[in-house]
């Protein structure tokens, strides 16, 4: 089983969020980056489990500049065999998906795995776009995947419940919580990662199809009013005059 796992860097969850260039770019200054947890904890670890059970190879791919290398190296330390970075600063999800699909076509992969979304933009787009570009089936928000030979039985999170589907390789799957359990790289893995191949390739030239007009922060949450349960009249007044919901 040869698996291509798509990984991206995201700001650490404690990062202070701000924007530059007329609010069209995220201000990366002083921000710590981590591997997107859905890519790391679920997609990558499930891919490693498949390799451990069936043999094969796990390849990481990331579309980004050299500052992605630390995240890629972590994936190699956790156990991926090799990695590819497409050296460009992508402008939208379509550009990312196009580059990954272009690379995937050049190799012999049975499966492409992504996280269900990146935790900073929550787009959930790249996996579906790769599947479309590859003309492969797409399974989104997978919380369980059992593989027998080339047939996978997959539980998917759907609104209000779960759906179980069967699919044959090759396919694209996006990983949700439950698909695997986080693995912490050990020191030996970290040292082995230093010598694993990380290939840097130029982009294929696929154009972006959208551009960012602007970012804005959500409104700060207003403070909570606590109303004495004896004072229903005050509650009604606040709902009418301040919340304006009555």
């Amino acid at each position: 089983m040869n698996v291509l796992v798509c990984v991206t860097k995201t700001p650490d969850t404690t990062a202070k969020i701000g924007f530059v260039e007329q609010n069209t770019r995220f201000d990366q200054n002083g921000v710590q980056f981590i591997m997107n947890p859905y890519d790391e904890w679920y997609a990558l670890v499930r891919a490693l489990e498949l390799k451990e059970a069936q043999g094969g190879k796990v390849t990481l791919i990331s579309v980004g500049l050299a500052d992605c290398d630390q995240v890629i190296r972590k994936g190699l330390a956790i156990g991926a065999d090799e990695a590819v970075r497409i050296d460009m600063d992508p402008a939208d999800s379509f550009q990312v998906a196009s580059e990954i699909a272009a690379y995937a076509r050049s190799g012999e992969f049975d499966l492409i795995m992504t996280g269900k979304e990146s935790i900073e933009s929550n787009g959930s787009e790249v996996g579906a776009m790769i599947a479309e570009l590859m003309d492969w089936p797409f399974l989104s928000y997978a919380s369980k995947m059992e593989m027998v030979g080339s047939t996978a039985t997959v539980d998917l999170e759907i609104e209000g419940g779960e759906e179980t589907v069967q699919v044959n390789t090759p396919f694209v799957i996006s990983a949700a919580k439950g698909l695997a359990e986080q693995r912490i790289p050990n020191m030996r893995g970290i040292m082995m990662a230093k010598t694993k191949p990380l290939q840097v390739l130029p982009g294929s030239g696929a154009a972006a199809r959208s551009s960012i007009v602007g970012y804005s922060l959500p409104k700060e949450k207003a403070s909570v009013h606590l109303v004495d349960p004896e004072r229903m009249d005050e509650l009604v007044r606040l709902l009418k005059e301040e919340a304006k919901v009555l």
Binding site: I184, M187, I190, M191
Partner: protein, 405 residues
């Protein structure tokens, strides 16, 4: 008082570990990718495995033995030893960073790792025969064996060269007699690296195994510090040890002292972790805690404490980074290591005390880590060379005159 229910209620109220590192001078830029990955891995492990249980174990003065296996799995035992002997093949800065993250969790957990790596695996690697290396190091690295290090005696602490523990020739064995005191991990250890004088009065290293007749390791109780770490004695009454268990490649005090240099180096890094945890907790608490209608972080006396803390932490970070760079080049002197150990432990202890004040009454409870760190650091100030002895080592180094013997 019903202590069981108290323990349970405290345990259930354990706060989420919201620790974040602090890097005021962008020193991360001086670290390599593998250092950052090692730090991230150990920090994640500590948040998952140590933080949720440490207050409870420290409260009950019990050692979380199950963490030995976990420490081995992440590679915290002997990370700077070669991989073929069970180590990690990393450099000295990586080792320091690992110790820092472990001690951020608890000095006792860091002690478990530094004893195993610096005081047991290191001397077997450095001074042992090839057979001894093959026999012990992989099992120590994987946590299958727990090790301890016997140098300090009841009557010989700062003056280890005065030791009375001794070995006498008995054909292809030696007969070991004596006692060692304040030995981390001793009651649970499978192997002990013991330093003893031969019949000519020369200090030799001897590997003693659990179960050898005449060897016991009673536990020391009643510690108000390193409560989650197990400490004991080593007692030898006519213990017959095969001569093949003597470390062949070292004679004299330079054997144990070179191990202590390794361990002290790890402590110099480690205590920065304890200091950072205290600072991190104090900073967050002072921003959340309001008095007189505003966060206490807004008051000048709180800011003085916080500003001095991060200043001292930054200085200690720079000191250890430079010491690590020297150690990687094989140029760090024992006296330089003494200076860093002494300075940084004292720095951490003072920060723990100041952080305790910022937390007010909450600072004395196990809702916050600061008083546990403070109590732990009282031990760290004394073990592996006391605060005063390290000062005199610096004094001797700069004057050329020995002031302590």
């Amino acid at each position: 008082m019903d202590t069981t229910s108290t323990t349970q209620s405290r345990k259930s109220s354990a706060r989420e570990d919201r620790y974040q590192g602090h890097d005021y001078y962008q020193l991360d830029e001086l670290l390599q990718e593998d250092h950052l990955l090692a730090r991230d891995a150990v920090r994640t492990w500590v948040k998952q495995e140590v933080s949720p249980i440490i207050e409870d174990y420290a409260n009950r003065a019990e050692c979380p033995y199950h963490l030995f296996k976990g420490l081995a799995e992440i590679g915290a035992f002997g990370p700077s030893l070669p991989a073929e002997y069970g180590g990690g093949g990393m450099d000295e800065i990586a080792y320091g960073v690992i110790m820092q993250e472990l001690e951020r969790g608890d000095s006792g957990i860091r002690s478990m790792a530094s004893v195993q790596g610096s005081l047991v695996m290191y001397p077997i690697y450095k001074f042992g025969s090839e057979e001894q290396r093959r026999k012990y190091l992989p099992k120590l690295g994987s946590g299958e064996f727990i090790g301890c290090f016997g140098l300090t005696e009841p009557d010989h602490g700062s003056n280890p060269a005065g030791m009375v523990t001794n070995i006498k020739d008995d054909g292809d064995h030696v007969i070991l007699n004596g006692a060692k005191m304040w030995i981390t991990n001793s009651p649970v250890a499978d192997v002990a690296v013991v330093w003893a004088k031969d019949e000519e009065g020369i200090v030799r290293g001897v590997i003693v195994e659990k179960g050898m007749p005449g060897f016991t390791a009673p536990e020391i109780h009643g510690k108000w510090s390193l409560r989650a770490s197990i400490t004991g004695e080593l007692v030898f009454e006519d213990v017959r040890v095969p001569k093949t268990n003597i470390l062949p490649n070292v004679k004299g005090m330079k054997g144990p002292l070179s191990c202590l240099s390794k361990a002290r180096y790890g402590i110099a890094w480690g205590v920065i972790g304890a200091a950072l945890d205290c600072y991190d907790s104090a900073l967050r608490y002072s921003l959340e805690r309001e008095q007189f209608g505003r966060p206490i972080a807004g008051f000048q006396l709180t800011q003085k404490k916080l500003a001095e803390m991060i200043t001292e932490i930054t200085k200690a970070q720079l000191l250890t980074w430079r010491l690590g760079t020297l150690a990687n080049a094989g140029k760090a002197t024992p006296a330089q290591i003494s200076m860093a150990k002494r300075n940084n432990v004292n720095m951490a202890l003072e920060i723990a005390r100041e952080a305790r004040q910022i937390h007010g009454g909450m600072g004395i409870t196990n809702e916050y880590p600061v008083m546990r760190h403070m109590m732990n650091l009282e031990t760290v100030l004394t073990y592996e060379g006391t605060h005063d002895i390290h000062l005199l080592i610096t004094g001797m180094d700069v004057t050329g005159i020995n002031a302590f013997s």
